[in-house]
Symmetry: C2
Subunit: 238 residues, 2 copies
């Protein structure tokens, strides 16, 4: 146990941990449906789209398809979901705009204030499976104050593959033990801990809506468990 005194960089999972993808995607889908005169349940659509997220990355992880950034996986998955929901009214430009809804997601209410506090003492970096431009565009729109955007595209590997964490630490010029991953997902934290990262679980109990059944609590012995990013900053004396 290296301990919090060694901590130099705090890295963050983004979808679900920093931003509320379900509300954002559902809202954009329903706005588009009203404009284009089709009927859809935005939340079901968002869940279906997100449901194809891990399977599509698994195809990359397993080498079934070559390296593909998340924007492009999202688009492949979107075409499939549009077909499932029998939405065929959209032009290519409208599909492209909808695909970039992932660039326009809003942060949870505590995220920006918490990051701003943490940033005073630590490097704060995104460590997401989202491509850099997605995470950067989101940051510019919403004010998320990243010092650096790391993650899958920079490492060339999707989490939870160990290279995603280890290459991120290497690029920061740090030992894994000097880095912490903050995530709302037990699986991500377990993978990061195996690579030597310190870990903080932040529950996001409505990430998947009011009926969420997974990732409600910390299922393992993490270095920290914080209610939100502001509590995390207080725990770290920021």
């Amino acid at each position: 146990m290296i301990g919090l005194a060694a901590l130099k960089a705090i890295t963050f999972d983004v979808f679900g941990t920093v931003v509320d993808w379900r509300t954002g995607i559902a809202g954009e889908v329903e706005t588009l449906a009203a404009e284009k005169k089709f009927v859809v349940d935005g939340e079901l659509f968002a869940d279906a789209w997100r449901g194809l997220y891990q399977p599509s990355m698994t195809r990359v992880r397993d080498g079934e398809i070559a390296w593909t950034v998340l924007d492009d996986l999202h688009r492949m998955n979107l075409l499939q979901v549009l077909e499932t929901f029998e939405v065929d009214q959209l032009s290519d430009d409208e599909i492209e705009h909808l695909n970039r809804a992932w660039h326009r997601l809003d942060p949870w209410p505590d995220a920006i204030a918490g990051l701003q506090r943490l940033k005073q003492r630590y490097i704060v970096a995104a460590l997401s499976n989202g491509n850099v431009s997605l995470i950067l565009n989101m940051a510019k729109l919403t004010g998320l104050p990243w010092d650096m955007v790391l993650g899958a595209e920079i490492a060339g590997h999707y989490k939870p593959q160990p290279e995603a964490y280890l290459r991120s630490a290497e690029i920061l010029g740090l030992e894994p033990e000097e880095c912490m991953l903050v995530a709302a997902h037990n699986g991500d934290l377990v993978a990061a801990a195996r690579c030597g990262f310190q870990t903080d679980f932040v529950p996001r109990e409505c990430e998947y809506g009011p009926g969420q059944t997974t990732d409600l609590v910390a299922e393992n012995d993490y270095d920290l468990v914080a209610g939100d990013f502001i509590e995390l900053s207080q725990m770290l004396g920021c």
Copy 2:
């Protein structure tokens, strides 16, 4: 000519353009000399160290040695300069600390204020031959408000190789024409322009001290020539 209306990201050369390496390195060398009781002209030492910068990157560019981050090239070059200046009083830790003087360089007086203005409208990113941790540590120490650190380590190629610019644009999700390089060095700007980047020359007439003879003026037809970063922000309506 795409024009300034298309501009979405402004990328910056760092050593010499954003930070004053000569004053910083000379100062750290002279402080160390006073502590360790050796005699050295800090500016001559800084010039000699910087003089080995391009030749060491050329060895990487030419494939003579494998990819090596700038921290490690700096260290190889430092050992050589210490020998030339007959400095043999330093421990490994002291040499390592001196090598990281490049992480502690101060920005030119206009740099932070200019970047803060530009950041309101554009992505502002470092596009340096410095490794990411070097540029990030410098940013955290001095307050340089980068949205992203791009450059040689991310691209796996040292400027002025075209991959350094093209891969940076690709990671930003932009066409080269939507990116601008700001630099105090004509050679860097020519290489970026060949890749399709827009260009802005900012003269730093004392980068190499009062006797500087190169890069005093814009030697080509760049998109912009700005006296400093604040003037650049004004030219871009920020």
